[in-house]
């Protein structure tokens, strides 16, 4: 009897711990929305999201320049990071000899573990002066931020892509090679297409990381709340907008920063829903006998 009670109790305690994730996520979304709603109401949701001017001292709260800043930096970073990561993943999964893998794997892991404030510091001290000398301007720009972001999202996209490439059944590869295809033809025409859904998931997760990055971006992007005329001009990300101004924000300004957080949350949740959909479809295809 006592045994059964113990079993029952243990299971309920474990269940409670598991449910805590749901409670936490609801609390986070609830509190951020509750603090952000007053600003959305007062400014108007459309004026807030599509407003071109951010000037709290004049009561102007439009985050569109920051949305453009965040998405612009992210797009540029992905432009650099996606080919690099995919080639890197192919190298690790298909080409690299064992010794090289033993060096490269921990390298990628360490790159993923370096604190974002270190990336920002390195960018501020090394990359910003470099950009100033070679591209003119102040050196603080959308391009500078996206170069730092490239290095930061590379490990995410690379390791997920590598897993995807490795999970392709060996028969695929053998069949292609047996037909006389070269190794590269096999990779290009057989392995890569089969691994594509996994690689896309990696890219979306990398995108999420780039959109959510705060410290590294704040230290190198210049942070002007205006839509940049070119990639060499400074820009401000949504994350930076919150981090820069929360220290002294009061009243409506304070609420407007939480509303900026709502915009960020919405972007991340959209990305999550997309990755879940891709994973779901992939499972369906595998289970449906196509793979």
């Amino acid at each position: 009897m006592a045994r059964n009670w113990e079993e029952f109790l243990v299971e309920k305690v474990l269940l409670l711990a598991a449910i805590s994730s749901i409670i936490i996520i609801l609390l986070i979304i609830g509190f951020v929305i509750q603090q952000g709603i007053p600003a959305m109401e007062q400014v108007g949701p459309l004026n807030f999201i599509f407003g071109m001017d951010w000037s709290p001292s004049y009561g102007l709260y439009g985050v569109f320049p920051m949305i453009v800043g965040s998405l612009g930096m992210t797009a540029l970073a992905l432009l650099f990071a996606v080919p690099l990561s995919i080639f890197g993943a192919i190298f690790l999964a298909e080409v690299a000899p064992k010794n090289m893998r033993k060096i490269l794997k921990p390298t990628i892991q360490t790159l993923a573990g370096i604190p974002s404030v270190i990336y920002g510091f390195f960018g501020l001290i090394v990359l910003v002066p470099f950009m100033r000398i070679h591209f003119g301007g102040s050196g603080f720009s959308m391009l500078t931020a996206s170069i730092i972001l490239t290095v930061m999202v590379l490990p995410t996209i690379l390791s997920i892509s590598e897993d995807a490439l490795r999970s392709i059944p060996l028969e695929y590869k053998e069949a292609s090679l047996a037909l006389g295809a070269t190794h590269w033809q096999t990779i290009k025409n057989v392995i890569f297409p089969a691994a594509l859904p996994g690689i896309v998931t990696g890219i979306i997760l990398g995108m999420g990381r780039a959109i959510g990055e705060t410290m590294a971006v704040i230290m190198v992007a210049g942070n002007t709340p205006i839509i940049p005329g070119s990639i060499l001009e400074p820009a401000r990300a949504l994350t930076s907008n919150i981090a820069l101004e929360m220290g002294y924000a009061l009243g409506l300004h304070y609420n407007a920063l939480f509303a900026t957080g709502i915009v960020l949350l919405m972007m991340i949740i959209v990305l999550l829903v997309i990755t879940n959909y891709i994973n779901y479809k992939r499972k369906v295809t595998v289970g449906g006998g196509y793979l």
Binding site: A17, A96, S116, V151, H183, Q185, M219, M246
Partner: protein
């Protein structure tokens, strides 16, 4: 590359791609060496007993970083004592008790969302919930609890994978001997999964140590050693951010950065060691 006409023979394409792939591999290594090398080359010469164990002078223009090291230790400790039980217990439930219900799907989606929420949004939540709503103020406690929320998904995911990797035969052996489900988990499954669970805890710890945005508006920025969990503090990454962006002191910024890099290197090496040991154990050696 995808639709390359036959100007280049497959044989040549193979050679060109080999060069490109090796080049990307080396590029990753070169980037890491440059970043870590640059920080350590400039930071290590700042190290001295005074720098590590001294108090900062002024707002950090000179002097040491001991209060920041202590602050980092405190907030990380609070984050781990909260996140470890929640993460590990949730992992046990997901791996051993959960089926395929809608509740399980909801829990997984919640954990995934928790893992991808931008750190500054955690900071916003920490500010409005811990600092203001629960009236904990800018303190070690507010910062530590905010970091705990960020560490939970990391610990949960790693622990779940390692519990699931425990061979079915272990469990069957124990159940066949008449042990109950919880006895089997407690005596057989968890001990077998311990290296993986430990790896998860260390990764969660790394996340707490390196995080800046989430503590920016929860932990305060005091320069003194916090005397209790209700005191404000200034962990290392926050100190580095302030030193670098407010132009307080470049040498001290280098030194602080080097301390952070060394901590992360130690963590990466020790997790690799654990994972290797774990893999060997699971393969029955």
């Amino acid at each position: 590359m995808i639709s390359m006409p036959r100007i280049i023979s497959p044989h040549h394409a193979q050679k060109i791609m080999n060069v490109v792939l090796w080049g990307v591999g080396f590029l990753a290594i070169v980037i890491l060496i440059i970043i870590i090398g640059y920080i350590l080359y400039n930071g290590l010469p700042q190290f001295s007993l005074e720098f590590i164990f001294g108090n900062p002078v002024g707002s950090g223009e000179s002097g040491g970083i001991w209060p920041m090291i202590v602050s980092t230790f405190y907030v990380t400790f609070i984050a781990l004592i909260v996140a470890t039980p929640l993460g590990v217990l949730a992992a046990i439930w997901l791996a051993e008790y959960a089926g395929e219900s809608n509740l399980v799907k909801a829990i997984r989606f919640a954990a995934e969302t928790l893992a991808s929420i931008p750190s500054i949004v955690f900071g916003l939540f920490g500010l409005t919930f811990f600092v203001v709503f629960l009236q904990m103020g800018f303190s070690v406690l507010s910062g530590g609890l905010t970091l705990a929320l960020m560490a939970i998904p990391t610990i949960l995911r790693t622990a779940e994978v390692s519990i699931e990797a425990v061979p079915q035969s272990y469990k069957e052996g124990s159940l066949a001997l008449g042990a109950s489900k919880w006895q089997t988990i407690y005596r057989v499954v968890i001990p077998a999964a311990i290296p993986g669970i430990t790896t998860g805890i260390i990764l969660g710890m790394a996340r707490a140590i390196e995080e800046t945005a989430a503590i920016l508006y929860t932990v305060g920025a005091a320069l003194a050693i916090p005397m209790s969990i209700w005191d404000p503090a200034r962990p290392l990454p926050l100190h580095l951010y302030i030193l670098a962006t407010e132009g307080v002191s470049l040498p001290n910024a280098y030194g602080t950065a080097a301390v952070l890099v060394l901590i992360i290197l130690i963590i990466t090496i020790s997790t690799n060691y654990l994972v290797e040991k774990y893999t060997k154990k699971m393969m029955g050696r």
